[in-house]
């Protein structure tokens, strides 16, 4: 069944509502691509902030007995650095990709709940601002990113510092949970015809798995944080030592969340790399089903290893042995992924674009972090490693060498799809090498520091411990990363205007997102494509690449997207000046596609919800809390009772 829609000669049109242009178009947007970009820019901003914090840490540790910052400030710096990088950088940067890519990859016009999606973003924004506003009150959180009780309880941390942390994380949790339900529904329900689960692009798969980790792990930390919040504000006893509380409760709850969390941080990056490697090897992904299953396995096993962060806590030999074995088991599915990536490149025709380099960087560097992870998994041995710089080395290899490298690969790969232009490869090359060298120079010496007995989270160390030279190197390395990041930032902003025009498919991609213009029109697909294999675009453009891949071969022509009678799949890029204009394509209305109405209701609801927490931290200011809660409930009703799409017909 098809309707024929007439289009006017010129597809350009003027915005008809204030929500369709300018700042309002961002504040009121429900478009997953715009929300994705909001996530993207916000998290890159926090990356700079978290990086500056790291740079100060490295400056302080450059010399022994250094007094660049006070002990108190140092503690705030590493707490905020860790918290920022995890909750305000890697998670939302991954969310930027979820938002931007999932609907494009699965052939949908938007996510299942577009307004909830906007709400998630605004809550996240509020949470990040809330957390960092503590700097201006000289009360930045200082309990470490895992905030062990009882240090974080009121008797030992009377100030506002921990209040900001507890409440900030609580707010961010709401954002992640809301987004989790949304993406799960989206992936289950919004796939294009023919895209059954085993044809879904691997990034979408890893994103799918990640959402489950989020919706199952975040409730646990929500509860743990709620206890702490109640203890701090309302005098309950959950972590109150005097009342007989057990500090291990916090630790177990935190790590029950915390370990799945690290896979929340890495799986999206794994997914991105699994998209990049095949394209630049000109080969399908090696062992797609196994890649899917190993992702699921990693996630599932991830719920059974949490206590490996507590080997020094004295859980007893049986628990130690159990968690040791389960932890080691995770190395198996992860190893499968590494080897399958190698298999993907094997026999390929490798093109070393910047995206590819970062993807290879992940394979090379994550492995190092993974191996040190396995070294921690042996409890007796971990007693010599835990809380030393050896751990710091481990997690920066997996987080920076893994997650960040993967996300950078994704950024270079998808920048053209997001902006319509390519990033400069030369600058990208500088960015990559400075980052890769700097990263190793920063974090490799930390292995030695840890093995040489340097504890982590120390604001300064004594001279003559044999730690000076490795700390020097680490600090130099951080400087290189800063330099690399400057290349990246410069590249990013100049390419927005001057980058080469990308066209639909600059890399020869295999999946649906490369079929549509860059940047895509707000409705993504004028016709929802029918999918016949895992690599729909290759089937059409480079069938030789997919001859061995299972797919049903009929109906391939349905892949065409026709806009204005032309197949845009092969159409040349829109002319230069109009590239970024939202009006470069026929409007959804002209095509008869119903898209959600822009609305600021989610924004209002998010800020009202956030304000309830602001009232809480202002010594439980009831007028503020109640007013904000009322506004929240009101805007929620207002939102839920308004239809998603404009009233019509």
């Amino acid at each position: 069944m098809a309707t024929t829609v007439s289009l006017p000669e010129t597809p350009h049109r003027e915005p008809t509502h204030k929500y369709e242009s300018g700042v309002w178009s961002w504040l009121a947007t429900t478009d997953h691509k715009r929300i994705g970009q909001l996530y993207l820019y916000t998290s890159l901003f926090w990356f700079i902030v978290g990086g500056i914090e790291a740079a100060i840490i490295r400056a302080q540790l450059y010399n022994p007995n250094s007094h660049l910052v006070t002990a108190q400030t140092y503690n705030e710096l590493f707490t905020m650095h860790g918290t920022t990088m995890i909750f305000l950088v890697i998670m939302p940067l991954s969310a930027a990709f979820f938002n931007f890519l999932i609907p494009l990859q699965i052939g949908a016009r938007d996510v299942a709940f577009p307004r909830l999606n906007a709400f998630s973003y605004w809550v996240f924004l509020f949470g990040g601002l809330f957390l960092n506003s503590s700097w201006f009150l000289h009360a930045a959180p200082n309990g470490g990113w895992f905030g062990y009780a009882p240090l974080t309880t009121r008797p030992f941390s009377p100030g506002l510092n921990i209040d900001f942390w507890v409440i900030g994380l609580q707010i961010l949790g709401i954002s992640s949970l809301a987004a989790g339900f949304n993406f799960i529904t989206t992936i289950i329900n919004m796939r294009a015809p023919g895209m059954h689960f085993m044809r879904m692009p691997i990034f979408s798969w890893m994103a799918f798995v990640t959402q489950f980790l989020i919706i199952l792990a975040f409730p646990i930390i929500t509860v743990a944080l709620t206890f702490l919040m109640l203890d701090r504000f309302f005098g309950t006893n959950f972590y109150e030592i005097q009342a007989g509380a057990d500090p291990l409760l916090w630790q177990h709850l935190f790590w029950l969340f915390g370990h799945p969390e690290v896979y929340i941080l890495i799986l999206p990056a794994f997914g991105l790399v699994s998209e990049v490697l095949p394209v630049f090897s000109r080969k399908p992904l090696f062992g797609y089903p196994v890649m899917v299953y190993s992702g699921i396995l990693i996630a599932t096993l991830g719920f059974g290893v949490w206590a490996h962060h507590m080997f020094a806590a004295g859980m007893g030999p049986i628990a130690d042995a159990f968690f040791s074995i389960t932890t080691m088991l995770i190395a198996i599915p992860t190893g499968v992924k590494i080897f399958n990536w190698l298999g993907t490149m094997w026999g390929g025709s490798l093109r070393f674009t910047t995206a590819m380099k970062f993807a290879i960087g992940l394979v090379a560097l994550f492995t190092i972090g993974g191996i040190s992870g396995v070294m921690h998994s042996s409890p007796p041995s971990d007693l010599q490693q835990t809380d030393s710089y050896f751990i710091v080395a481990h997690f920066h290899y997996v987080l920076f060498g893994g997650s960040m490298m993967g996300l950078f690969a994704g950024l270079y790969f998808y920048y053209p799809k997001i902006t319509g232009r390519l990033l400069n490869e030369k600058l990208g090359n500088w960015h990559f090498w400075l980052t890769a060298i700097g990263m190793n120079l920063t974090f490799f010496p930390m292995h030695f520091l840890g093995l040489d007995g340097m504890p982590r989270r120390i604001s300064s160390y004594d001279a003559g411990q044999g730690w000076e030279s490795n700390n020097h190197l680490a600090s130099y390395g951080a400087a290189l990363i800063v330099l690399g990041t400057i290349f990246f930032a410069y590249n990013w902003f100049t390419s927005l205007r001057r980058g080469a025009v990308a066209g639909n498919d600059p890399w020869g991609g295999a999946t649906l997102e490369w079929m549509i213009p860059s940047p895509p029109p707000d409705y993504n697909f004028a016709t929802i494509p029918k999918v016949t294999s895992r690599y729909p675009l290759w089937d059409r453009k480079s069938p030789e690449l997919t001859v061995n891949v299972p797919h049903d071969s009929q109906d391939e022509q349905k892949m065409d997207v026709k806009i204005g009678g032309q197949s845009t799949g092969t159409a040349s890029a829109p002319s230069d000046t109009k590239l970024n204009a939202p009006h470069a394509h026929p409007s959804a209305r002209q095509l008869g596609i119903m898209m959600p109405t822009p609305t600021t209701k989610p924004l209002i609801a998010a800020f009202a919800l956030g304000t309830v927490f602001v009232g809480l931290i202002m010594h439980k200011n009831l007028p503020i809390m109640l007013t904000a809660a009322a506004i929240f409930v009101f805007s929620l009703y207002n939102w839920l009772l308004t239809p998603l799409e404009p009233e019509h017909h």
Partner: protein, 426 residues
């Protein structure tokens, strides 16, 4: 190899290698976890080495394969044909099984070591209660009735069984050269035990973040010959008050470095022939303290990395013209606010338990949680303004004219007297 390739890959790759290589050439590592000097330290060492070899092997395998692929399959001239295949079950099963086998090889010794190191400590052990405080260590020897702070004495060759507890937040007890760490957890008692096998002085650290001065919560461990330990215990049991410090306290100690001495480790004078062999096999240099030596570890011969080098804050000054008087200090101390927090056995009024036991404070090598050497200069500054000497310190400032929450009460003269008195408590 084309020139182009060399330019684009080789230079940065070499820089990368160089960067990593640089980091390994630093061999001065006084706190290294390798070659640990206790029985369980050895077991852990052995296990860690196994893990390390496994890790290095896997690392080389993966990275070499990766490099090979990158060189072999690069699309040099832009028209390389990719071989099209999308999987291989045999291979995939293979690289599922091989890691599993490798892991089994490390899992077995892991489990063995877990149960070995967490068995019950022998009843003949020296019992030590380790009590963590923000930010200092209290060490109690219940078998001997001895209480001290920040410095542990342990007999070589006898198992020391630590009962780990905390007065406030979590801490972690770690002397990397002796054994792994274990956390101190509120409302829990944790245990850790091992048998030191060489006599020496070691650094210890708090390894669990515990607040502002976590970095400054250090301690020292002195492993000494058993007889020496007994002498130390006997001395610690006496009341320091009014007793003249043992004549031997700082005098004739000699140390000997064993044959395997490395230049970095042996700082003591080597006076051969005067000492017995170390009681247990010593893989690395052992300072052997003579039988006749004092109950105090030879301060003059401490390895230099055990002596703190922290500078006191520049803003903190002390009138150098005053000299303290022990008797005046003793009189002052009896009624000073210090007694609310500190115990000095023999001074009936001084029975506070908030701060470290000062009975033999003069015989310790460090003060302030191992942050400063125990010298008059540092003691004076400490008493004058502890929170400036150590951020967040729970000991208030006492120096007149020092700024703080509550103004101080003592002139430099009074502080000098107190310091003189305290350092006389050998």
């Amino acid at each position: 190899m084309t020139r182009d390739l060399r330019m684009r890959w080789l230079t940065p790759a070499l820089a990368l290698l160089l960067a990593v290589g640089l980091t390994a050439c630093n061999s001065f590592a006084p706190n290294t976890i390798f070659g640990a000097h206790s029985d369980f330290g050895h077991s852990i060492d052995l296990l860690t080495r196994k893990l390390l070899y496994m890790g290095v092997a896997v690392f080389i395998l993966v990275e070499a394969l990766l490099l090979y692929i990158l060189v072999k399959f690069r699309d040099r001239d832009g028209n390389r044909e990719a071989r099209q295949f999308h999987g291989n079950s045999t291979l995939e099963i293979g690289w599922t099984l091989i890691p599993a086998v490798i892991l089994a090889f490390i899992a077995v010794p892991t489990i063995k070591t877990i149960f070995e190191t967490q068995a019950k400590a022998p009843p003949s052990s020296v019992q030590v209660e380790v009590i963590g405080h923000q930010w200092w260590w209290e060490f109690r020897y219940p078998q001997y009735g001895v209480v001290t702070a920040n410095e542990l004495y342990l007999p070589v060759g006898r198992t020391a069984n630590f009962a780990l507890m905390t007065k406030d937040v979590l801490h972690s007890f770690w002397a990397p050269q002796l054994n792994g760490k274990r956390d101190l957890i509120s409302n829990h008692v944790n245990y850790l035990w091992f048998t030191p096998d060489s006599a020496y002085a070691w650094n210890g650290f708090c390894a669990e973040y515990c607040g502002t001065s976590h970095a400054y919560m250090r301690f020292k461990v002195f492993t000494v010959a058993p007889r020496e330990f007994d002498a130390w215990v006997a001395h610690q049991k006496t009341n320091a008050v009014g007793s003249t410090p043992p004549a031997t306290a700082m005098a004739t100690d000699t140390g000997k470095a064993s044959a395997a001495t490395s230049a970095t480790a042996a700082k003591g004078t080597t006076t051969p022939g005067n000492a017995k062999a170390p009681p247990a096999p010593a893989p690395t240099p052992v300072m052997n303290v003579s039988d006749t030596a004092s109950a105090t570890f030879p301060r003059s011969q401490l390895p230099r990395w055990v002596v703190p080098r922290t500078d006191p804050p520049a803003t903190l000054t002390f009138d150098q013209s005053v000299t303290g008087d022990v008797t005046r200090g003793a009189t002052l101390f009896k009624t000073a606010p210090c007694i609310a927090c500190h115990t000095i056995r023999g001074v009936p009024t001084a029975a506070g338990i908030i701060g470290p036991n000062l009975t033999h404070v003069g015989s310790r090598t460090t003060i302030g949680g191992g942050l400063y050497p125990n010298e008059l200069k540092f003691l004076q500054l400490w008493i004058k303004n502890a929170p400036a000497m150590k951020p967040g310190s729970l000991m208030p400032l006492f120096g007149k004219a020092e700024k703080g929450d509550t103004p101080g009460v003592y002139t430099d003269q009074q502080i000098a007297d107190l310091a003189a008195y305290l350092s006389s408590l050998k």
